[in-house]
Amino acid sequence: MLDHILSILVFFPALAALLGFVVHKDSMRSYGVAVAAIEFALALWLWFAFDNNVSGMQFMETIALIPTFGINYIVGVDGISLFIIILASFFTMIGIASLTDTKDVKNMIITLLFLQMTMVGVFVALDAMVFYVFWELSLVPMLYIIGAWGGPLRIYASVKFFLYTFAGSLVMLVGMLFMAYFYYQATGQWSFAILDWYRLILPESFQLWLFVAFFIGFAIKVPMFPFHTWLPYAHGQAPTIGSVILAAILLKMGTYAFIRFSLPLFPDASVFFMFPIAILAIIMIIYTAMVAYAQKDIKQVVAYSSVSHMGVIIIGTFALNVEGISGSIFLMIAHGVVSGALFLLVGVIYDRRHTKLMSEFGGLASVMPRFATIFGIMMMASVGMPLTINFVGEFLSLLGFYQQSHILTLLAGIAIIVGAIYMLAAYKKMFFGEVTKEENKNLPDVNKRELIALVPLVIITIWLGIYPKPVLGPINTSVEAVVQLMHEKAITEEAKSRIPSLDIIINKASAKEVQ
């Protein structure tokens, strides 16, 4: 069973979802929780069976699909993708468990299970076509979640989300086709296998164009400034569960893809574009943090804060050294946990008051002390307090980039100031002061069902903040291999010097050059 565990992880939720159509709607919730719990247990088993000392892919499976064009079903997992998969299954589980009075709960759970298939699929795919298929398929359930359960502007928001990211992905698809064509030119064989592509050394000019093609697809997904405007609408209109999954997992596809595709395939282009991208990321950090500060709606604050934090992830990724990339992957996990928890918390208050405007609240600390405490912990994690999960990622990302540029890191570091400004201001508006509104005087504190979702997140936030090693160790092993590969593939002097050599031996198959 362990040989096929990745395929099981991908397709088990989908099969269970199909079966879900015949399950009675009253027992649907327990069914959904059971399926998601099994999936989560499988993901944990994967972690348990995972060999921390191997830097390459594990549990690989290959099934030929269209061999003539080199399109095969190839899946595998390494330290970079492992924890995002676990996170995806974890969030689906607590998401389903914490679903509150949603209409058509049966459809919602079926949709979530399909969404889970696409999410896991993206992170295990090692064939560009398979990756692309899952990448695009993931849009459909989310389109449906926003469009069917969203707020008043849901149609606009869901169509915008779909078309915007879809348009970007098409450019990425063209890039992938070119990449396969170059591989064909170099070797006489077609291949869409990412590991095959890793062995290809492209001239710098090709790299630049391909990098841009991939970049557009990824940057919209992340979303990077100035491609981010679909996100506030999507978050603003999506139901709580939609926002949680979107922020915790779907956004990570973009940053994950940077590390899976852009860095190892185009090391010279990565160095070439390092500073422009870093500047975009810095704009993203500071500008969206300022926009977050101006918001009146607490959910939009969290939404914009997501964009701001994704900027730090990008900075870490383009540090192009082990510290930075490991930090950025860790921050993906951390941001998933923290922003997911914050969206859940916003959902808690929305269920009670059916408004998200901060001016409607005030003084909640005395009415809902447990809610205020959990929100406070998550806020502090979001602000990057040491001994919480976010700090480790932020610290390493910025530390890594400091090797590349002093002044840009100083600017990116403003994240810790502006982040504190909007978060503390929002917290003050919601929780401090006197209770002014009559409706708020008797709000019930968080209930058991909500605690089931929130308490594990609090525990993870603090546990991985104090002891990040179980996660950071495997990430580090795989990242070292990526950095070494990049160093060896780099052609230009600049890239050779920017990407450190680690003097570790990776399984080097003969590199092939495109003329």
Binding site: K160, L163, Y164, F225, P226, H228, T229, W230, Y287, M290, V291, Y293, A294, Q295, N321, V322, E323, S326, G327, G363, S366, P369, R370, T373, M380, M385, P386, L387, F391, F395, L396, L398, L399, G400, Y402, Q403, H406, T409, L410, G413, I414, I416, I417, A420, I421, L424, A425, K428, F431, F432, G433, I466, Y467, P468, K469, L472, G473, I475, N476, E480
Partner: protein, 640 residues
Amino acid sequence: MELFLYTALFAPLVGSLFAAMFGARPKTKIAGIVPSIMLGVSLISSTILLVLVLTTGHTVHVEMMTWMATGDLYIPFGFVVDQVSVTMMMVVTLVSTVVHVYAIGYMDHDAGFNRFFAWLSAFVFSMMILVMSDNFAGLFIGWEGVGLCSWGLIGFWYKKESATWAANEAFIMNRIADLGMLIGIFLVYWNTGTLQYDGAFAAMPGLDTATLTWIGIFLFVGAMGKSAQFPLHTWLADAMEGPTPVSALIHAATMVTAGVYLVVRSNELYALIPNVGLFIASLGAFVAIFAATMALVNRDIKRVIAYSTLSQLGYMFAAAGLGAYWVALFHLMAHAFFKALLFLGGGNVMHAMNDELDPFKMGGLGKTMKGTMILMTLASVALAGIFPLAGFFSKDLILEVAFIDHHFIIYTVLLLTAGLTAFYSFRIIALIFHGEDRHTALGFHPHEAYKFMLWAMAPLAVLAVIAGALKGSYFEMVTYVLPATEYHVHSATTYWIMTIGTQLFVIGAIYFAYKKYMSKDIKVPDGTSKMENSFAYKLLINQYYIPYFYEEYLVKPYRELSTLCWTHIDQKVVDASVDGIAKAFYATGENTRAMQSGNLSTMLKWMVAGTVALLSLAVVFGLAAKYSGEIKLFLSGLGV
């Protein structure tokens, strides 16, 4: 010995978690007593460690576990008890224990009693991490941890707008400085390859001066935030919104001295860059006098003491900047005792006066509050530096350091400040306890604090008196790790002139304060007197208009710019262009829809047009392909 180290470190955490369990429940005494006992345990363990270090000279160094490890970076949770950290541990645990016991009485009637002790003990834990860590990253954990607890405690009465505002101000201002600190840490890592103190400091002599200077500057920026040095000082006075025990512990004795501790801890770095040291000393001297002038006129006893703290921090930085690290640390210790005492006394007065803070509305309280009066007077005498109390040994030593190192400007400024210190300290003593009774007319019926609160303050009073006597053994101890420069004025005559002169000057200032503020003519100022309308008074009472400047020129523009970014840039430029592109597609479809209306004749027309277009394209491309050579030639002739 590791056992004592871990006990000293984690006992406050246990106390904090215990109190936190009762966080949302109604007040229980036990939530205050258990943390106090745990702090006592921590104090005893620290004392045992002190005795060990003092007698054997051994230091304890443990590595608990790995925190972060990736690439070449390796950061453990490592703790070290050496001569410097054990001094800090003693100061922290001693003052905390006193403040905890005192707070059981002070917070007696507060609904948030349990929550208060959870935060307060958490603070002590963070502070212990800060001083005991053996690397910069661990220091940063404590650094941020104390910032967090300070936020929670300043904003403890969260229903008050001013309190939560002050809490956020303190947090954000500290964050600005923390960025500097973080950059300093990055610089240390990339230049020395490690964040452990011993490894990093050992590698520093091999680095070039420019790098070292940057490291020194950025780390000091971090110190400026925590220790509220100009221009990041405004949060400290506003932090007085917190309960008074908090002010005594955090904003006088411990947290604000973290910056001084950092500079002392990094003495090997700052010894290599004397120019940065001189800058630190100059800034320290400036802050000393700058804060002292603001304390002269303020009409809020807690704020006066806060400015006094700021001023004394300036002294400490002046000493540390001039390379007299042990002197700075000694003043830090002595100051912690008498300043905490002063604050706790202020707390008694506040309680007696139903939280009234204006000393002009008090007067003659000495009759009802004899104990508090004695303790506060003692603390003020120590603060003023009168022989033989603590301040005389620690503060006058800083003056001597400046004098001996020939920094006469710094010396003069500090000397002048000493006079101001004595004046403003006794100004409030005189206004509160002596003179005419002005409070009864205003409807106040003061009462003395609980006996056990006064007894809890007693150890601080004893230390404020005798700390000077400890100087010798203290010097022996810390100079194991700190440069053992002794400061002696060369000629005995000069020494006696300086010492006696300073004493006379200070005593004169005290006499002047008593004379001026004990007089029967003192009334509650109503804004009409000549002094209150003078320019100097207005400048000082408005804190040199710096908070106003920050509000008008930083806070407001930031808020406006944020709104502008959202409403104009994000919605009207970025998003509008995305929608614009989408609309262009949509409009194209909408406008060309008529082409496929189903009307045969229109469709035929379009078909013909399309065929013509395609054919002509084919012809053009065909020709171009045929004559490609000529075209290239032609184009190259044009210089394309």
